[in-house]
Symmetry: C2
Subunit: 210 residues, 2 copies
Amino acid sequence: MKLPEAGLPAALSRLSECFASLPGVGSKSARRMAFHILNISDERAAEFAEAILGAKRDIHTCRICGNLSDGDLCVICASDRRDGSKICVVETAVDLLSIERTREYAGLYHVLGGVISPLRRITPDDLNIQPLVKRISAGGNGENSAINEVIMATNPGAEGEATAMYLSRLIRPFGVRVTRLAYGIPVGGNVEFSDNATLYRALEGRVEVE
Amino acid sequence: MKLPEAGLPAALSRLSECFASLPGVGSKSARRMAFHILNISDERAAEFAEAILGAKRDIHTCRICGNLSDGDLCVICASDRRDGSKICVVETAVDLLSIERTREYAGLYHVLGGVISPLRRITPDDLNIQPLVKRISAGGNGENSAINEVIMATNPGAEGEATAMYLSRLIRPFGVRVTRLAYGIPVGGNVEFSDNATLYRALEGRVEVE
């Protein structure tokens, strides 16, 4: 006797597939999530659906820096309490949030939207680079806040570093200081298990013990 | 200078919270999923939202067995290729799917919707038990398919076993055979790392080597 494949009802497997398309979600977790949706109230489910549509509808990129925002300007560009003389260049808005969480940086940002990658055919024209150059040549967000430092916070790796190098050559002519994040052993890491490239960078960037 | 908390835009943090409410999703993964939604097409996002609403709207429980279904009957109860003389009693529709995947079982199912739990104040009346008794006393789905075996596949544990015991006392008077899944060392597991309860059950349930 051949058994009919007693799979999920169509509506449920469709939902499962949607969850499985999310980053880091396998088919088993996706099915568990789909079953979870069946158990929540109709109101919660409607809120979830609306949250998806609402995020797509309301979230845009900031006109100045490319950060995510639900208005014309992001909270950082709109704030009058940020140090307008510094711009930190990041690959994505997620990187920006990570730096914000340190609560160490009070300047502005610029979100590139990726890195230059000949292999993946991503050229400088595909990135949010021209607006950065304009910001620097125009002297910053406000009138009286000339930019004097641009901090490269692209990811350490061939493409991130090449992009930082490219930007540096583009920006330095405007007379601004171009810096990059320090490389080294991560806090809580250890020397024994650090890879060669990291140790090399940590040695190279060694500083005087105070 | 006190920094303003540069969090996510409201629409994005709402979406993040929705994802974080799913089982097994932490706040970091939830944020990553929310960012992912921003990067998919509007069509895909609309499909996702509709999949959530559609699952809530279309998925009901099967009138006979309590399995999930998008019609009046689930695919198993609606099939004429299942062995109508056996009913396998499971706690949830997910358990049913797990047993289906073995492709070993051709009978019918009955989904309890949980287990009896005095601690969590779940009584037999809260579960899909009366319809099971009715199915058995009425002699199965069809006219000519008297049920002769009910297999308890509740989870091994105090509540699952107590529920199986309760059902067994309820069902046996109808003259059907009541069995339960075998307990023992899982395939691929090993004796050294098996817990006491499992080893005890494996010893107790030992079978003749053929």
